[in-house]
């Protein structure tokens, strides 16, 4: 199985477009997932009875195969980018919700009590004490969700919008391996780069964890 390099040269524009579309779908899903899971995680963290329900529900959603999720959304949002993003968002939820709740749980009770004793209001405590301290665990979830989403976008190719996944269909239909190889390599690269960037972001955002590690 050899790579036809001239095909790559002739299709750099298409590849750029597909890569950007791919990235856009994956990142929108993670951003939406965060937007939904953050408030839900705070609720699950504070109100114990809701915790099992929310986490259980997200686990069940995760069990449903991705292609089934995309397909089941067809009557709702049709063969569009929206379907792809909603489907991927559902997938990010389980990881993001679980990690955010775990992150909030990992904040020592004494730290919260100290904030309370200093007269900090609950919302302010959440934003300036709890969430920053929970950040390493939340970021671990964001990394998993991002890598997973980037890989899953190509499943949406069956419903007409799969970013780099279209290269798989193309190569399959023409019995031509080059686009498939390029698609797999680009997807892996994209995931790798996104993951590395997130590690860097976390390094910048949580200076206190560095000190602890070096000690």
């Amino acid at each position: 199985m050899t790579v036809d390099w001239s095909w790559i040269r002739d299709h750099t524009d298409d590849l750029t477009t597909l890569t950007l579309a791919h990235l856009q779908a994956a990142l929108s899903a993670v951003a939406l997932g965060l937007l939904i899971s953050l408030p839900l995680a705070v609720v699950a963290h504070r109100i114990r009875p809701l915790r099992g329900l929310l986490l259980g529900l997200s686990n069940v959603l995760f069990t449903i195969p991705s292609i089934a999720v995309f397909v089941l959304l067809l009557p709702v949002s049709g063969l569009t980018r929206t379907t792809t993003v909603i489907g991927l968002t559902i997938y990010t939820l389980v990881v993001l919700l679980r990690n955010t709740v775990e992150g909030l749980d990992s904040v020592p009770a004494k730290t919260k009590e100290a904030a309370k004793a200093m007269g900090t209001r609950p919302l302010r405590t959440l934003l300036t004490v709890e969430l920053p301290l929970a950040l390493p665990v939340i970021m671990a979830g964001v990394r998993i969700a991002t890598v997973m989403s980037i890989s899953l976008v190509s499943v949406a190719t069956y419903i007409g919008d799969g970013g780099l996944g279209q290269l798989f269909t193309d190569g399959f239909q023409r019995n031509f391996p080059t686009p498939v190889i390029v698609g797999v390599v680009l997807t892996l690269l994209l995931a790798l780069v996104a993951d590395a960037l997130l590690v860097t972001l976390q390094y910048v955002l949580t200076p206190w964890t560095r000190r602890r590690r070096s000690a």
């Binding site: 199985m1 069940v60 995760f62 069990t63 449903i64 195969p65 991705s66 292609i67 089934a68 999720v69 397909v71 089941l72 067809l74 009557p75 990394r143 998993i144 890598v147 997973m148 980037i150 890989s151 190509s154 499943v155 190719t157 069956y158 419903i159 780099l164 996944g165 290269l167 798989f168 190569g171 399959f172 019995n175 031509f176 391996p177 498939v180 190889i181 698609g183 797999v184 997807t187 892996l188 995931a191 790798l192 993951d195």
Partner: protein
């Protein structure tokens, strides 16, 4: 929307739909066969590797990175690639499914092994247990809950992905999804998707039940 659900219901309960070589019964058996065989092969490969890495502490780097590599690998691309390389056979599907399941099992097995209290391990050694006895009689039982979690995760992923077999012209429940998409028959597409989802959820619940029955006396580290 209501009409669609009514048609979907009718499609699912229709008697003809369940019999014959194109029937749901046969497709269900195919789907289960692909999924279970792939998961078993993956477990046979991944369990020893995960146990060895966890027991010796060597190759932890591999175990950790394997997880994110497994998550990043686009399965559709992998199936098509192996398909183009090997021609029309079930090989591509099985290879892709096994490749998909191995990382989850290896990393969870490794995680389970590292979660074993080192003092317990030392105590076992102090009592004169040999390496393989420590591994099989102490570490493995303690790591089992997390190992089961890995197997469940792998099985769900495999059941979901076995749908792709139909994409490269094999059977399984994916048949309805892809045939339906080709024929613009939304009811059939949805029917296939619902069936795959139900199979995934039921198998996961069954394994969860098995896990609970096996480890009734031990708290699961990951509830």
């Amino acid at each position: 929307m209501y009409e669609l659900f009514k048609d979907l219901g009718a499609w699912l309960v229709s008697g003809d739909q369940w019999t014959g070589p194109d029937g749901i019964g046969h497709r269900l058996v195919e789907h289960l066969q692909y999924s279970l065989l792939a998961t078993l092969v993956a477990a046979a490969i991944a369990l020893p590797v995960g146990l060895l890495i966890g027991h010796t502490g060597r190759g932890a780097f591999v175990a950790i990175n394997l997880a994110s590599f497994g998550r990043a690998l686009p399965t559709v691309g992998l199936v098509v690639l192996v398909f183009l390389a090997s021609g029309l056979s079930m090989w591509p599907v099985y290879i892709a499914l096994v490749a998909l399941a191995v990382p989850s099992i290896v990393t969870n097995t490794y995680a389970g092994m590292t979660a074993v209290d080192p003092e317990v391990r030392d105590a076992a050694r102090g009592q004169g247990m040999r390496a393989h006895q420590v591994l099989l009689q102490v570490e493995l039982p303690l790591a089992l809950p997390l190992i089961m979690t890995g197997l469940r995760l792998a099985l769900i992923q495999v059941v979901a992905t076995a749908t792709i077999a139909a994409y490269v012209s094999f059977g399984g429940l994916g048949r309805y999804v892809f045939d339906g998409l080709a024929q613009r028959d939304l009811v059939q597409v949805l029917g296939g998707a619902v069936l795959v989802a139900v199979v995934a959820v039921v198998l996961d619940l069954a394994l969860a039940g098995l896990q609970r029955a096996l480890f009734r006396h031990r708290p699961s580290p990951q509830a």
